[in-house]
Protein backbone atom coordinates (compact mmCIF):
# COMPACT_ATOMS: atom_id res chain seq x y z
CA UNK A 1 0.00 0.00 0.00
CA UNK A 2 1.70 3.26 -1.15
CA UNK A 3 -1.25 5.63 -0.97
CA UNK A 4 -1.27 7.77 2.19
CA UNK A 5 -4.49 9.74 2.64
CA UNK A 6 -2.93 11.72 5.50
CA UNK A 7 0.21 12.82 3.59
CA UNK A 8 1.50 16.21 4.81
CA UNK A 9 4.35 18.50 3.69
CA UNK A 10 6.79 19.19 6.53
CA UNK A 11 6.51 22.77 7.85
CA UNK A 12 9.68 24.93 7.91
CA UNK A 13 10.57 28.28 9.47
CA UNK A 14 12.09 29.46 6.22
CA UNK A 15 9.59 32.31 5.74
CA UNK A 16 10.03 35.15 3.25
CA UNK A 17 11.12 38.76 3.61
CA UNK A 18 8.21 40.98 2.64
CA UNK A 19 8.65 44.61 1.55
CA UNK A 20 5.01 45.42 0.89
CA UNK A 21 1.66 43.67 0.97
CA UNK A 22 -0.29 45.61 -1.68
CA UNK A 23 0.95 44.71 -4.17
CA UNK A 24 2.76 41.85 -2.48
CA UNK A 25 6.50 42.40 -2.89
CA UNK A 26 8.91 39.77 -1.57
CA UNK A 27 12.65 39.24 -1.57
CA UNK A 28 13.92 36.70 -4.10
CA UNK A 29 17.59 35.70 -3.67
CA UNK A 30 19.88 34.61 -6.51
CA UNK A 31 23.55 33.70 -6.47
CA UNK A 32 25.77 31.72 -8.83
CA UNK A 33 29.40 30.81 -9.48
CA UNK A 34 30.25 30.51 -13.16
CA UNK A 35 32.98 28.27 -14.56
CA UNK A 36 34.25 31.00 -16.88
CA UNK A 37 36.73 29.89 -19.54
CA UNK A 38 38.94 32.54 -21.15
CA UNK A 39 39.32 30.04 -24.00
CA UNK A 40 41.37 31.54 -26.88
CA UNK A 41 42.06 34.68 -24.80
CA UNK A 42 43.79 32.65 -22.02
CA UNK A 43 47.37 33.58 -22.97
CA UNK A 44 46.68 37.27 -22.28
CA UNK A 45 45.86 36.53 -18.64
CA UNK A 46 48.76 34.09 -18.14
CA UNK A 47 51.22 36.61 -19.63
CA UNK A 48 50.26 39.25 -17.06
CA UNK A 49 52.03 37.07 -14.46
CA UNK A 50 55.23 37.50 -16.51
CA UNK A 51 54.63 41.29 -16.60
CA UNK A 52 53.86 41.14 -20.29
CA UNK A 53 50.99 42.84 -22.09
CA UNK A 54 49.94 40.68 -25.02
CA UNK A 55 47.91 41.95 -27.98
CA UNK A 56 47.38 40.26 -31.35
CA UNK A 57 48.69 40.75 -34.85
CA UNK A 58 47.04 39.70 -38.08
CA UNK A 59 49.74 38.44 -40.39
CA UNK A 60 47.35 38.53 -43.38
CA UNK A 61 46.55 42.26 -43.30
CA UNK A 62 49.09 43.51 -40.74
CA UNK A 63 46.51 44.96 -38.29
CA UNK A 64 47.79 45.05 -34.70
CA UNK A 65 45.33 44.85 -31.79
CA UNK A 66 46.05 46.21 -28.32
CA UNK A 67 43.14 44.19 -26.92
CA UNK A 68 43.72 40.67 -28.18
CA UNK A 69 41.32 38.78 -30.40
CA UNK A 70 41.70 35.34 -31.93
CA UNK A 71 40.60 36.38 -35.41
CA UNK A 72 41.04 39.65 -37.29
CA UNK A 73 37.96 41.91 -37.46
CA UNK A 74 39.16 43.34 -40.80
CA UNK A 75 39.92 40.21 -42.84
CA UNK A 76 38.82 37.27 -40.66
CA UNK A 77 42.25 35.58 -40.56
CA UNK A 78 43.58 33.95 -37.38
CA UNK A 79 45.86 36.30 -35.42
CA UNK A 80 49.21 35.66 -33.68
CA UNK A 81 50.07 36.84 -30.15
CA UNK A 82 52.02 40.10 -30.20
CA UNK A 83 53.77 41.70 -27.22
CA UNK A 84 52.86 45.35 -26.62
CA UNK A 85 55.14 48.09 -25.32
CA UNK A 86 54.84 48.79 -21.58
CA UNK A 87 54.28 52.49 -22.19
CA UNK A 88 51.57 54.26 -24.09
CA UNK A 89 49.50 57.44 -24.16
CA UNK A 90 46.01 58.28 -22.89
CA UNK A 91 43.58 58.36 -25.84
CA UNK A 92 40.61 59.24 -23.61
CA UNK A 93 39.58 59.00 -19.96
CA UNK A 94 36.89 59.38 -17.32
CA UNK A 95 36.51 59.19 -13.57
CA UNK A 96 33.58 57.08 -12.34
CA UNK A 97 31.89 58.27 -9.14
CA UNK A 98 29.12 55.67 -9.40
CA UNK A 99 29.03 52.30 -11.04
CA UNK A 100 27.77 48.77 -10.96
CA UNK A 101 27.14 47.24 -7.55
CA UNK A 102 30.27 45.10 -7.85
CA UNK A 103 32.53 48.13 -8.34
CA UNK A 104 30.79 50.68 -6.08
CA UNK A 105 33.27 50.14 -3.21
CA UNK A 106 36.11 51.10 -5.60
CA UNK A 107 34.63 54.47 -6.64
CA UNK A 108 35.86 56.96 -7.56
CA UNK A 109 38.15 55.25 -10.08
CA UNK A 110 39.72 56.38 -13.36
CA UNK A 111 39.16 54.56 -16.63
CA UNK A 112 41.42 55.21 -19.59
CA UNK A 113 41.78 53.99 -23.16
CA UNK A 114 45.49 53.57 -23.96
CA UNK A 115 47.08 54.01 -27.41
CA UNK A 116 50.46 52.40 -28.15
CA UNK A 117 53.05 53.31 -30.79
CA UNK A 118 52.70 51.02 -33.81
CA UNK A 119 49.44 49.48 -32.60
CA UNK A 120 46.16 50.05 -34.46
CA UNK A 121 43.62 49.62 -31.66
CA UNK A 122 43.22 50.67 -28.01
CA UNK A 123 43.28 49.05 -24.56
CA UNK A 124 40.93 49.89 -21.69
CA UNK A 125 42.36 49.95 -18.17
CA UNK A 126 42.31 51.60 -14.75
CA UNK A 127 44.68 54.51 -14.08
CA UNK A 128 45.93 55.21 -10.56
CA UNK A 129 48.32 57.83 -9.23
CA UNK A 130 46.46 60.75 -10.83
CA UNK A 131 43.17 62.47 -10.08
CA UNK A 132 40.71 63.85 -12.62
CA UNK A 133 42.33 67.32 -12.71
CA UNK A 134 45.72 65.77 -13.56
CA UNK A 135 44.59 63.49 -16.38
CA UNK A 136 45.03 64.75 -19.94
CA UNK A 137 44.64 63.22 -23.36
CA UNK A 138 48.12 62.46 -24.74
CA UNK A 139 49.62 61.95 -21.25
CA UNK A 140 52.29 59.21 -21.07
CA UNK A 141 51.35 56.21 -18.95
CA UNK A 142 53.06 52.93 -18.14
CA UNK A 143 51.73 49.48 -17.34
CA UNK A 144 52.18 47.96 -13.88
CA UNK A 145 51.33 44.40 -12.95
CA UNK A 146 49.97 42.89 -9.76
CA UNK A 147 52.22 40.36 -8.03
CA UNK A 148 49.34 38.27 -6.73
CA UNK A 149 47.25 37.54 -9.79
CA UNK A 150 43.47 37.40 -9.84
CA UNK A 151 43.39 36.41 -13.53
CA UNK A 152 41.32 39.45 -14.34
CA UNK A 153 42.23 42.22 -16.81
CA UNK A 154 42.78 44.43 -13.74
CA UNK A 155 46.00 42.45 -13.06
CA UNK A 156 47.46 45.15 -15.30
CA UNK A 157 46.87 48.83 -14.49
CA UNK A 158 48.50 52.07 -15.53
CA UNK A 159 50.26 54.90 -13.72
CA UNK A 160 51.52 58.24 -15.08
CA UNK A 161 54.97 57.93 -16.73
CA UNK A 162 57.67 60.63 -16.69
CA UNK A 163 57.99 62.42 -20.05
Amino acid sequence: MTIDYNAKMPETQEGTEVYNTDPLIVKSHYEIDYIHSYAQDSEFFRALGKKKLMGSKCEECGYVYATPRGHCMICGAETKWHELPNEGKIHTFTTCYFGSEKFLPETPFNLIMVEFEGVDSLFMARLIGASLEDIKIGMKVKAKFKRNLTYSPTDVYFVPAKE
Binding site: N20, P23, I25, S28, Y30, H36, Y38, D41, Y65, A66, T67, R69, M73, I74, H91, T92, F93, T94, T95, C96, Y97, F98, G99, S100, E101, K102, F103, L104, L111, I112, M113, D120, S121, L122, F123, M124, A125, R126, L132, I137, S152, P153, T154
Partner: protein, 420 residues
Amino acid sequence: MKNGGRDVYMVSGGVTKFTKSNPGMDFRLRTKHAFDYALKDIDISVKDIDGSVASYFSDHFQRQLMSGIMAQDYLALTPKPSKRVEGGGATGGLAFQTGVEEVASGRMDVCAVYGFETMSHVNTWKGNEFIALASDTNFDYPVGGFYTGYYAMMAVRHMHEFGTTLEQLAKVSVKNHGNALHNPYSQSPMKITVEDVRNSQMVSYPLTRLDVCTMSDGAAVAILASEEKAFEMCDHPVKISGIGTGTDTMRLSDRPFLKVPLLPNEKESDYKNLQYPGVHSFRAGRSAALEAYKNAGITDPLEELDLIELHDAYTSSEIQTYEDLGLCKYGEGGAFIDEGKSNLNGKVAVNPSGGLLASGHPVGATGIMQSVFMFWQLQHSIKKHFKDDTLQVKNAKKGLIHSHAGTGTYVTVSIMEAVQ
Protein backbone atom coordinates in the same frame (compact mmCIF):
# COMPACT_ATOMS: atom_id res chain seq x y z
CA MET B 1 9.49 50.60 -50.29
CA LYS B 2 12.98 50.37 -51.77
CA ASN B 3 14.07 48.04 -48.95
CA GLY B 4 12.18 45.46 -50.97
CA GLY B 5 8.85 43.71 -50.55
CA ARG B 6 5.48 45.32 -49.92
CA ASP B 7 4.89 48.83 -48.60
CA VAL B 8 4.39 48.87 -44.81
CA TYR B 9 2.36 51.33 -42.74
CA MET B 10 1.94 52.00 -39.05
CA VAL B 11 -1.75 52.11 -38.18
CA SER B 12 -1.84 52.47 -34.40
CA GLY B 13 0.21 52.65 -31.23
CA GLY B 14 0.01 52.69 -27.45
CA VAL B 15 2.39 53.50 -24.58
CA THR B 16 2.14 53.20 -20.80
CA LYS B 17 3.35 56.04 -18.64
CA PHE B 18 7.00 55.28 -17.92
CA THR B 19 7.89 55.27 -14.21
CA LYS B 20 10.89 54.43 -12.04
CA SER B 21 8.84 51.69 -10.43
CA ASN B 22 5.30 50.50 -10.92
CA PRO B 23 4.95 47.29 -8.89
CA GLY B 24 1.16 47.25 -9.20
CA MET B 25 1.44 45.86 -12.76
CA ASP B 26 3.77 43.28 -14.25
CA PHE B 27 5.15 43.42 -17.79
CA ARG B 28 2.21 41.43 -19.18
CA LEU B 29 -0.41 43.78 -17.80
CA ARG B 30 1.53 46.87 -18.85
CA THR B 31 1.88 45.49 -22.38
CA LYS B 32 -1.84 44.62 -22.36
CA HIS B 33 -2.73 48.23 -21.49
CA ALA B 34 -0.60 49.61 -24.34
CA PHE B 35 -1.95 46.95 -26.73
CA ASP B 36 -5.62 47.60 -25.84
CA TYR B 37 -5.09 51.34 -26.27
CA ALA B 38 -3.70 50.73 -29.76
CA LEU B 39 -6.54 48.38 -30.74
CA LYS B 40 -9.20 50.73 -29.39
CA ASP B 41 -7.74 53.79 -31.12
CA ILE B 42 -8.64 52.36 -34.56
CA ASP B 43 -11.45 50.14 -33.36
CA ILE B 44 -9.94 46.79 -34.29
CA SER B 45 -9.75 43.60 -32.24
CA VAL B 46 -7.10 41.03 -31.44
CA LYS B 47 -8.64 38.88 -34.21
CA ASP B 48 -7.29 41.37 -36.76
CA ILE B 49 -3.67 40.72 -35.72
CA ASP B 50 -1.83 38.05 -37.76
CA GLY B 51 1.25 37.73 -35.55
CA SER B 52 3.71 39.63 -33.43
CA VAL B 53 7.28 40.50 -32.48
CA ALA B 54 8.29 40.64 -28.80
CA SER B 55 10.89 43.19 -27.73
CA TYR B 56 12.71 43.06 -24.40
CA PHE B 57 16.35 43.35 -23.49
CA SER B 58 17.28 41.51 -20.35
CA ASP B 59 16.31 38.21 -18.77
CA HIS B 60 18.29 39.26 -15.69
CA PHE B 61 16.08 42.10 -14.49
CA GLN B 62 13.24 39.83 -13.45
CA ARG B 63 15.01 36.44 -13.64
CA GLN B 64 12.23 35.40 -15.97
CA LEU B 65 13.20 33.80 -19.26
CA MET B 66 10.72 33.52 -22.16
CA SER B 67 8.87 36.67 -21.09
CA GLY B 68 7.91 37.06 -24.75
CA ILE B 69 5.61 34.09 -24.78
CA MET B 70 4.07 35.19 -21.47
CA ALA B 71 3.12 38.51 -23.05
CA GLN B 72 1.95 36.70 -26.19
CA ASP B 73 -0.52 34.49 -24.29
CA TYR B 74 -1.61 37.34 -21.99
CA LEU B 75 -2.52 39.41 -25.09
CA ALA B 76 -4.60 36.46 -26.41
CA LEU B 77 -2.27 36.16 -29.40
CA THR B 78 -1.43 32.45 -29.08
CA PRO B 79 -1.17 30.35 -31.27
CA LYS B 80 -0.25 33.04 -33.84
CA PRO B 81 3.38 33.37 -35.04
CA SER B 82 5.77 35.39 -32.89
CA LYS B 83 9.44 35.72 -32.06
CA ARG B 84 11.59 37.63 -29.62
CA VAL B 85 14.15 40.11 -30.93
CA GLU B 86 17.01 41.39 -28.73
CA GLY B 87 19.89 43.77 -29.32
CA GLY B 88 20.70 45.74 -26.15
CA GLY B 89 19.49 49.33 -26.15
CA ALA B 90 18.44 49.02 -29.79
CA THR B 91 16.08 46.13 -29.02
CA GLY B 92 12.96 48.23 -29.67
CA GLY B 93 14.25 49.62 -32.97
CA LEU B 94 15.32 46.16 -34.16
CA ALA B 95 11.94 44.66 -33.18
CA PHE B 96 10.10 47.46 -34.99
CA GLN B 97 12.12 46.75 -38.14
CA THR B 98 11.45 43.01 -37.75
CA GLY B 99 7.74 43.84 -37.70
CA VAL B 100 8.22 45.86 -40.91
CA GLU B 101 9.94 42.84 -42.47
CA GLU B 102 7.09 40.50 -41.41
CA VAL B 103 4.61 42.67 -43.31
CA ALA B 104 6.91 43.56 -46.24
CA SER B 105 7.63 39.87 -46.86
CA GLY B 106 3.93 39.13 -47.15
CA ARG B 107 4.01 36.74 -44.22
CA MET B 108 1.63 38.92 -42.18
CA ASP B 109 -0.87 41.59 -43.19
CA VAL B 110 -1.09 43.01 -39.68
CA CYS B 111 1.75 42.66 -37.14
CA ALA B 112 1.81 43.85 -33.52
CA VAL B 113 5.25 44.80 -32.20
CA TYR B 114 5.21 44.93 -28.41
CA GLY B 115 8.05 45.92 -26.12
CA PHE B 116 8.50 46.07 -22.37
CA GLU B 117 11.05 46.17 -19.60
CA THR B 118 10.67 45.96 -15.83
CA MET B 119 13.87 47.36 -14.35
CA SER B 120 12.57 48.04 -10.83
CA HIS B 121 13.00 44.49 -9.54
CA VAL B 122 16.66 45.25 -8.77
CA ASN B 123 18.30 48.38 -7.35
CA THR B 124 19.92 50.87 -9.72
CA TRP B 125 23.48 49.65 -8.97
CA LYS B 126 22.57 46.06 -9.70
CA GLY B 127 20.77 47.25 -12.84
CA ASN B 128 23.98 48.99 -13.95
CA GLU B 129 25.79 45.70 -13.40
CA PHE B 130 23.31 43.80 -15.58
CA ILE B 131 23.59 46.42 -18.31
CA ALA B 132 27.41 46.29 -18.08
CA LEU B 133 27.26 42.54 -18.73
CA ALA B 134 26.40 43.73 -22.25
CA SER B 135 30.11 44.52 -22.64
CA ASP B 136 32.94 42.03 -23.20
CA THR B 137 33.12 40.05 -19.93
CA ASN B 138 36.76 39.05 -20.56
CA PHE B 139 38.20 42.53 -21.11
CA ASP B 140 35.70 45.33 -20.43
CA TYR B 141 33.22 44.41 -17.70
CA PRO B 142 35.88 43.51 -15.08
CA VAL B 143 37.76 46.81 -15.66
CA GLY B 144 34.97 49.34 -15.87
CA GLY B 145 31.71 47.52 -15.53
CA PHE B 146 29.72 50.72 -16.08
CA TYR B 147 28.17 51.90 -19.33
CA THR B 148 28.05 55.55 -18.28
CA GLY B 149 31.84 55.29 -17.92
CA TYR B 150 32.22 54.00 -21.47
CA TYR B 151 30.02 56.79 -22.90
CA ALA B 152 31.84 59.35 -20.75
CA MET B 153 35.14 58.34 -22.37
CA MET B 154 33.53 58.80 -25.80
CA ALA B 155 32.24 62.23 -24.75
CA VAL B 156 35.70 63.28 -23.52
CA ARG B 157 37.21 62.30 -26.87
CA HIS B 158 34.44 64.15 -28.76
CA MET B 159 35.22 67.25 -26.69
CA HIS B 160 38.93 66.85 -27.45
CA GLU B 161 38.44 66.21 -31.17
CA PHE B 162 35.83 68.90 -31.88
CA GLY B 163 35.82 71.32 -28.94
CA THR B 164 32.36 70.28 -27.74
CA THR B 165 31.65 71.90 -24.35
CA LEU B 166 30.06 70.85 -21.07
CA GLU B 167 27.43 73.57 -21.58
CA GLN B 168 26.49 72.16 -24.98
CA LEU B 169 25.93 68.73 -23.41
CA ALA B 170 23.83 70.34 -20.66
CA LYS B 171 21.67 72.17 -23.22
CA VAL B 172 20.45 68.81 -24.55
CA SER B 173 19.27 67.91 -21.05
CA VAL B 174 17.52 71.27 -20.60
CA LYS B 175 15.74 70.90 -23.97
CA ASN B 176 14.61 67.29 -23.54
CA HIS B 177 13.49 67.55 -19.91
CA GLY B 178 11.67 70.76 -20.85
CA ASN B 179 9.84 69.18 -23.80
CA ALA B 180 8.66 66.39 -21.49
CA LEU B 181 6.71 68.91 -19.37
CA HIS B 182 3.98 68.56 -22.01
CA ASN B 183 4.22 64.78 -22.46
CA PRO B 184 1.94 63.03 -19.94
CA TYR B 185 3.64 59.67 -20.61
CA SER B 186 7.08 60.94 -19.58
CA GLN B 187 8.92 59.85 -16.44
CA SER B 188 11.00 62.95 -15.65
CA PRO B 189 9.56 66.23 -16.93
CA MET B 190 11.68 69.08 -15.53
CA LYS B 191 12.20 72.76 -16.00
CA ILE B 192 15.95 73.05 -15.46
CA THR B 193 18.90 75.23 -16.43
CA VAL B 194 22.40 74.52 -17.73
CA GLU B 195 23.66 75.30 -14.20
CA ASP B 196 21.29 72.71 -12.69
CA VAL B 197 22.72 70.08 -15.02
CA ARG B 198 26.34 70.96 -14.28
CA ASN B 199 25.68 71.19 -10.53
CA SER B 200 23.91 67.87 -10.23
CA GLN B 201 25.90 64.89 -8.94
CA MET B 202 28.80 63.77 -11.13
CA VAL B 203 28.25 60.20 -12.31
CA SER B 204 31.20 59.74 -14.64
CA TYR B 205 33.08 62.82 -15.84
CA PRO B 206 31.78 64.77 -17.75
CA LEU B 207 28.30 63.24 -17.35
CA THR B 208 26.17 64.27 -14.37
CA ARG B 209 22.90 62.75 -13.13
CA LEU B 210 20.98 65.06 -15.48
CA ASP B 211 23.11 64.05 -18.50
CA VAL B 212 22.07 60.41 -18.06
CA CYS B 213 18.70 58.64 -18.47
CA THR B 214 17.18 56.62 -15.63
CA MET B 215 15.90 53.08 -15.14
CA SER B 216 12.22 52.61 -15.99
CA ASP B 217 9.23 50.30 -16.00
CA GLY B 218 7.14 50.58 -19.15
CA ALA B 219 5.63 49.06 -22.28
CA ALA B 220 4.84 50.22 -25.82
CA VAL B 221 3.03 48.73 -28.82
CA ALA B 222 3.15 49.53 -32.55
CA ILE B 223 0.72 47.99 -35.03
CA LEU B 224 2.00 47.66 -38.60
CA ALA B 225 -0.01 46.71 -41.68
CA SER B 226 0.11 46.19 -45.43
CA GLU B 227 -1.17 49.01 -47.65
CA GLU B 228 -4.53 47.39 -48.25
CA LYS B 229 -5.17 46.67 -44.56
CA ALA B 230 -3.74 50.03 -43.47
CA PHE B 231 -6.23 52.11 -45.44
CA GLU B 232 -9.06 49.78 -44.43
CA MET B 233 -8.26 50.07 -40.70
CA CYS B 234 -6.98 53.59 -40.29
CA ASP B 235 -7.89 57.08 -41.57
CA HIS B 236 -4.34 58.37 -41.34
CA PRO B 237 -1.81 55.56 -41.67
CA VAL B 238 1.88 56.49 -41.66
CA LYS B 239 4.23 54.91 -44.20
CA ILE B 240 7.55 53.34 -43.20
CA SER B 241 9.48 54.58 -46.21
CA GLY B 242 12.92 53.18 -45.39
CA ILE B 243 14.82 51.26 -42.75
CA GLY B 244 18.54 50.96 -42.02
CA THR B 245 20.64 49.08 -39.49
CA GLY B 246 24.32 49.47 -38.65
CA THR B 247 26.69 47.55 -36.40
CA ASP B 248 30.05 48.11 -34.77
CA THR B 249 32.47 46.15 -32.57
CA MET B 250 31.37 45.25 -29.06
CA ARG B 251 34.62 46.55 -27.59
CA LEU B 252 35.18 50.28 -27.78
CA SER B 253 38.91 49.48 -27.91
CA ASP B 254 38.45 47.72 -31.29
CA ARG B 255 36.90 50.70 -33.09
CA PRO B 256 39.06 51.48 -36.14
CA PHE B 257 40.51 54.79 -37.36
CA LEU B 258 39.34 55.09 -40.96
CA LYS B 259 37.56 57.57 -43.26
CA VAL B 260 34.01 58.86 -42.80
CA PRO B 261 31.41 57.02 -44.96
CA LEU B 262 29.96 60.08 -46.72
CA LEU B 263 26.31 61.10 -47.07
CA PRO B 264 25.18 62.67 -50.37
CA ASN B 265 25.49 66.16 -48.82
CA GLU B 266 29.12 65.67 -47.67
CA LYS B 267 32.53 65.73 -49.44
CA GLU B 268 35.79 63.94 -48.62
CA SER B 269 37.47 67.33 -48.13
CA ASP B 270 35.08 68.02 -45.20
CA TYR B 271 37.03 65.49 -43.14
CA LYS B 272 40.64 65.75 -44.25
CA ASN B 273 42.25 65.04 -40.89
CA LEU B 274 39.51 63.09 -39.16
CA GLN B 275 40.19 59.49 -38.14
CA TYR B 276 36.85 57.74 -37.99
CA PRO B 277 35.01 56.56 -35.98
CA GLY B 278 37.67 56.15 -33.27
CA VAL B 279 35.81 56.45 -29.99
CA HIS B 280 34.29 59.88 -30.71
CA SER B 281 31.53 58.80 -33.12
CA PHE B 282 29.05 56.00 -33.73
CA ARG B 283 29.89 54.40 -37.08
CA ALA B 284 26.81 52.14 -36.78
CA GLY B 285 24.63 55.29 -36.59
CA ARG B 286 26.13 56.56 -39.84
CA SER B 287 25.73 53.13 -41.55
CA ALA B 288 22.10 52.90 -40.44
CA ALA B 289 21.39 56.42 -41.72
CA LEU B 290 23.07 55.71 -45.08
CA GLU B 291 20.91 52.62 -45.64
CA ALA B 292 17.66 54.24 -44.49
CA TYR B 293 18.24 57.47 -46.49
CA LYS B 294 19.02 55.48 -49.64
CA ASN B 295 15.81 53.48 -49.26
CA ALA B 296 13.66 56.49 -48.45
CA GLY B 297 15.30 58.65 -51.16
CA ILE B 298 16.63 61.26 -48.72
CA THR B 299 19.66 63.25 -49.91
CA ASP B 300 19.56 66.26 -47.58
CA PRO B 301 18.33 65.09 -44.16
CA LEU B 302 18.25 68.51 -42.49
CA GLU B 303 16.04 69.94 -45.23
CA GLU B 304 13.87 66.87 -45.72
CA LEU B 305 13.18 65.73 -42.15
CA ASP B 306 10.69 67.62 -40.00
CA LEU B 307 11.34 65.86 -36.69
CA ILE B 308 13.44 63.16 -35.08
CA GLU B 309 13.13 60.91 -32.05
CA LEU B 310 16.65 59.70 -31.30
CA HIS B 311 18.35 57.59 -28.63
CA ASP B 312 19.61 60.16 -26.09
CA ALA B 313 20.52 57.79 -23.24
CA TYR B 314 23.24 60.40 -22.62
CA THR B 315 23.27 64.08 -23.62
CA SER B 316 26.57 63.43 -25.42
CA SER B 317 24.91 60.70 -27.53
CA GLU B 318 22.36 63.19 -28.87
CA ILE B 319 25.12 65.56 -30.03
CA GLN B 320 27.12 62.68 -31.55
CA THR B 321 23.97 61.43 -33.29
CA TYR B 322 23.19 64.82 -34.95
CA GLU B 323 26.47 64.25 -36.78
CA ASP B 324 25.97 60.53 -37.55
CA LEU B 325 22.59 61.38 -39.10
CA GLY B 326 24.14 64.16 -41.17
CA LEU B 327 22.00 66.96 -39.68
CA CYS B 328 25.33 68.79 -39.50
CA LYS B 329 28.93 67.84 -40.28
CA TYR B 330 31.07 65.86 -37.84
CA GLY B 331 32.32 68.32 -35.28
CA GLU B 332 29.36 70.68 -35.57
CA GLY B 333 27.02 68.86 -33.16
CA GLY B 334 27.78 71.26 -30.31
CA ALA B 335 27.03 74.31 -32.46
CA PHE B 336 23.82 72.60 -33.65
CA ILE B 337 22.36 72.65 -30.13
CA ASP B 338 23.80 76.15 -29.42
CA GLU B 339 21.96 77.51 -32.46
CA GLY B 340 18.70 75.95 -31.27
CA LYS B 341 18.30 73.96 -34.47
CA SER B 342 17.00 70.90 -32.58
CA ASN B 343 14.51 72.85 -30.44
CA LEU B 344 10.80 72.16 -30.67
CA ASN B 345 10.41 75.11 -33.06
CA GLY B 346 13.88 74.81 -34.54
CA LYS B 347 15.00 73.65 -37.97
CA VAL B 348 14.30 70.00 -37.09
CA ALA B 349 12.68 69.18 -33.73
CA VAL B 350 14.80 66.51 -32.01
CA ASN B 351 13.17 64.52 -29.22
CA PRO B 352 10.03 66.63 -28.93
CA SER B 353 8.71 63.88 -26.60
CA GLY B 354 11.57 64.43 -24.16
CA GLY B 355 13.62 61.52 -25.48
CA LEU B 356 15.04 58.83 -23.24
CA LEU B 357 16.48 61.43 -20.87
CA ALA B 358 13.04 62.61 -19.81
CA SER B 359 10.51 60.08 -21.15
CA GLY B 360 12.43 57.18 -19.58
CA HIS B 361 14.20 54.14 -21.00
CA PRO B 362 12.49 50.80 -20.26
CA VAL B 363 14.86 49.26 -22.78
CA GLY B 364 12.66 46.88 -24.80
CA ALA B 365 9.85 49.46 -24.95
CA THR B 366 12.00 52.48 -25.84
CA GLY B 367 12.43 52.08 -29.60
CA ILE B 368 8.73 51.29 -29.93
CA MET B 369 7.76 54.26 -27.76
CA GLN B 370 9.67 56.44 -30.27
CA SER B 371 7.63 54.98 -33.15
CA VAL B 372 4.36 55.66 -31.31
CA PHE B 373 5.21 59.30 -30.53
CA MET B 374 6.41 59.75 -34.13
CA PHE B 375 3.22 58.14 -35.46
CA TRP B 376 1.04 60.54 -33.44
CA GLN B 377 3.16 63.50 -34.59
CA LEU B 378 2.80 62.55 -38.27
CA GLN B 379 -0.93 61.92 -37.80
CA HIS B 380 -1.17 65.33 -36.12
CA SER B 381 -2.95 63.61 -33.23
CA ILE B 382 -0.64 64.67 -30.37
CA LYS B 383 -3.44 66.76 -28.86
CA LYS B 384 -5.77 63.77 -28.79
CA HIS B 385 -3.24 61.48 -27.10
CA PHE B 386 -1.36 63.99 -24.87
CA LYS B 387 -4.43 66.18 -24.06
CA ASP B 388 -2.08 69.06 -24.89
CA ASP B 389 -0.87 70.16 -28.33
CA THR B 390 2.23 72.10 -27.23
CA LEU B 391 4.52 69.39 -28.59
CA GLN B 392 2.75 68.95 -31.94
CA VAL B 393 5.36 69.81 -34.56
CA LYS B 394 3.67 72.06 -37.13
CA ASN B 395 3.64 70.66 -40.66
CA ALA B 396 5.17 67.37 -39.49
CA LYS B 397 5.31 65.20 -42.63
CA LYS B 398 8.51 63.20 -42.53
CA GLY B 399 10.25 61.88 -39.41
CA LEU B 400 13.14 59.70 -38.35
CA ILE B 401 13.36 57.32 -35.40
CA HIS B 402 16.74 56.11 -34.15
CA SER B 403 17.46 53.31 -31.68
CA HIS B 404 20.94 52.54 -30.34
CA ALA B 405 22.68 49.79 -28.33
CA GLY B 406 25.80 49.78 -26.11
CA THR B 407 28.37 52.39 -27.31
CA GLY B 408 26.85 52.15 -30.79
CA THR B 409 27.06 48.39 -31.42
CA TYR B 410 23.64 48.11 -33.07
CA VAL B 411 21.90 51.21 -34.41
CA THR B 412 18.61 51.36 -36.31
CA VAL B 413 17.19 54.25 -38.32
CA SER B 414 13.64 54.13 -39.68
CA ILE B 415 11.98 56.83 -41.80
CA MET B 416 8.24 57.45 -41.32
CA GLU B 417 6.07 59.57 -43.61
CA ALA B 418 2.54 60.98 -43.46
CA VAL B 419 0.64 60.01 -46.60
CA GLN B 420 -2.66 61.84 -46.27
